[in-house]
Symmetry: C2
Amino acid sequence: MADPAPPTPASTDAAPGSAAPAGRSPKPGATAARGPRRRPATTERREEILRAAANTFGAKGYKTGSLADVAEQVGMTHAGVLHHFGSKEQLLIEVLEYRDKEDVRDLEGQKIPSGLELFVHLLRTVRANEQRRGVVQGYTVLTGESVTEGHPAAAWAGNRFSILRGEIVDALRELAGPDVPEPTLSQAASAIIGVMDGLQVQWLLDPDAVHLAEATTFAIEAIVAAAVAGAAAPLPVPPPGAAGQVG
Amino acid sequence: MADPAPPTPASTDAAPGSAAPAGRSPKPGATAARGPRRRPATTERREEILRAAANTFGAKGYKTGSLADVAEQVGMTHAGVLHHFGSKEQLLIEVLEYRDKEDVRDLEGQKIPSGLELFVHLLRTVRANEQRRGVVQGYTVLTGESVTEGHPAAAWAGNRFSILRGEIVDALRELAGPDVPEPTLSQAASAIIGVMDGLQVQWLLDPDAVHLAEATTFAIEAIVAAAVAGAAAPLPVPPPGAAGQVG
DNA sequence: CATCGCTTACTTACCTGTCAGTAAGTCCTT
DNA sequence: AAGGACTTACTGACAGGTAAGTAAGCGATG
């Protein structure tokens, strides 16, 4: 992801829903918009499983992480996990939703940052992420995997990126004058998300060689400055032809 | 990867070799330092397999892609593939080496670009990559997977990043004055690689929403400009404390 | 006492790696 | 140049694992 702790605005709630198939959960008229009548202890148990699954999928990826692995962490068998979630794919989807909801909850009260504040928030998050390797790894692995054919997390990932881009564009528009063209803001927005994600990968592979927070800050400042200025400076743009190398 | 077509300097040759275990190949006193006497047709066959494997691992990832899948593409059984490579892990390693070698071969003659030229080369590559979705996907999937525990591609990925960073730092040093501090160059270098990779992920998930070449160009220009200037502009840097959200 | 939460017990489906065997070379010797 | 001795390139079958999903049962509990 752009970052394990994005603003996840109101829209975050909307997005995952669209990706979540029927499964066995959202049965219409139930207690609190929740599925089948559920004992209070059960909800807690389900959340334990979700946290364990986030853990496993984060460490090993969705395909490689097994239900048995998840089950073991909460002291039950893999069939028990299946009892709660119906299928592995449904479990993944609920893990994703759960995290999104948690993000929203954590931001509760605080209004969604806009303008300059959004970038401050982003950078604060990056700094926090340096202390949460596991979470960062989870997002990295999952988004990487999501670009494979027919991956169940593709919709989630695409959606998240889309929402984040929109927010950053809005924030940039506040900072930049009205004469800065839309495409420029849009390019800057995806670039900002891109650096955040890309730097995380390098940092995970070699934490000593990459200073996550510093490098991210540097890059975001550079990109925001260029966007506000209307465009970046020189560098002769190469022609489309003459490709060739690389494997 | 930073990009499917990086300069892959001389050092690229050194790195993968160190990671390659014995397998069944390098039998001491043989024809040409090569492993067991190999029929001419065999070398070609091995390369077919390597290309097929690059294909499979690129599309499905290393863990999920199967030997049977690879074998089918070249019209043999999975046992036949194992006959040539000994193990799945060894196959992956040779795929990685093969691609690196191909990159080097394609750059042959052309000296490794330095200074401004390096960035021009990078941008030209990005443009070429827009036409090679499969290759880009392969790098994205593999690097994403590589951050999982004990992944066989971790060494390769880390090495590649490290080499690329070094080259970019060198190029930046040529452009920037001697008064620009090393850490700034280093941060800019990892940030440049980061945007390239991060934008590729977004582009793969939603090619219409992200203009790969344009956004990359914009970001690299912004970052290079900031690095050459010695540092980027404002943006109040947030304090390390007060974290919280995110899932 | 019916439903919930979960286990046990399987089934089905792969997947990697091993092995024996075979057909087609390659090389050496006479 | 023909024969044997050996190698290479595979195939088919299978051992040994692991994984997801299903079905039936059983004890707790609301």
